[in-house]
């Protein structure tokens, strides 16, 4: 994958597959400590200890059509190649938290890429999930929560062209303003 935002999309897809109803994606830049932290938290079905131990193995997958699952090992390798770390916390019925930490300035750190596109893909693709995204830069945080938006829309589809326009601008300006405050 060419972007960290694509890894987030992939990990969030796992959360959806685990029947999560609430999924929170967090991206925090800290240029003082030189850290980029990414986290995907869900309230899905979780995993037992045995499965958790094997999950970073590229030959483990929950899918039934093909026997290899590469998403998590790829993300783990990306973090570890950047002087970072990777962690998964999970228990059956307790949901899952995937955390990846990167040395922000590391030469091999992939660009974040199009976070807005990742978020919009998830919002549109899985409207029954409650999505929250927190994007932070040195303590300034843009928090996106789709619940008030869906409430306000009252049955108008998220794929209505005017709503798509709103979502794109709302998320882009939120991300931009967090970055602008710091530069």
């Amino acid at each position: 994958m060419k972007e960290l935002a694509l890894h987030l999309l992939d990990i969030a897809e796992n959360s959806v597959a685990a029947n999560a109803k609430n999924i929170t994606i967090t991206v925090l830049f800290d240029t003082v400590q030189d850290i980029l932290q990414m986290k995907v938290e869900d309230d899905g079905k979780g995993m037992d200890a045995e499965r958790l131990n094997r999950i970073t193995d590229p030959f483990v997958t929950s899918r039934t059509t093909r026997k290899v699952g590469l998403g998590i090992p790829l993300f783990k390798a990306a973090a570890e190649a950047c002087n970072g770390s990777f962690d998964i916390q999970s228990a059956p019925g307790q949901g899952t938290i995937v955390t990846a930490i990167f040395q922000n300035s590391h030469i091999d750190r992939m660009p974040l890429g199009n976070l807005k596109s990742t978020l919009v893909s998830l919002l549109i693709g899985y409207p029954d999930v409650h999505w929250v995204m927190k994007y932070g830069f040195n303590g300034n945080i843009f928090e996106f929560d789709d619940e008030p938006i869906k409430k306000e829309l009252e049955g108008i589809s998220l794929t209505d062209p005017a709503v798509l326009g709103f979502l794109n601008e709302y998320i882009a300006s939120g991300i931009e303003n967090v970055q602008a405050t710091n530069t």
């Binding site: 897809e13 699952g69 693709g125 939120g174």
Partner: protein, 123 residues
């Protein structure tokens, strides 16, 4: 610093959407499904989806539902999109780049003609 869009803006968006809904005639409902498993993502499915959403926004298409699925099961054909118009059979398209997605949106979704050269199956 750009102006942050607020939920007040959303109220206006909703009112406009409601007006259009009242005005339009009853077109058949269109469903678009895109495969967004790891293989699909690596093959560019997010950009394909973005091209579809941009097309909907620019052409102001109403009544289209867009959904994701984790895995369609034909990896070598990713990115894959499936289109269902009303009660017609489901058409699966393979290797859908952003350009092909725009072409399919215009020819299949808007004009109602299946784009045969990219079809992998019709079921």
């Amino acid at each position: 610093m750009s102006k942050v869009k607020s939920l007040e803006d959303l109220k206006r968006v909703r009112e406009e959407a409601l007006k259009k809904q009242a005005a339009k005639n009853t077109a058949s409902k269109i469903q678009i499904i895109i495969g967004m498993g790891t293989v699909g993502i690596v093959a560019g499915a997010r950009e394909t989806l973005k091209a579809i959403l941009d097309f909907i926004e620019q052409e102001k298409l109403q009544d289209i539902s867009v959904r994701q699925t984790s895995n369609i099961g034909m990896d070598s054909w990713e990115p894959i999109i499936q289109i269902v118009v009303g009660d017609k059979p489901k058409v699966s398209y393979g290797k859908v780049t952003t350009q092909i997605a725009q072409q399919i949106m215009q020819e299949h979704v808007v004009d109602g003609n299946i784009v045969k050269e990219y079809v992998i199956e019709i079921q």
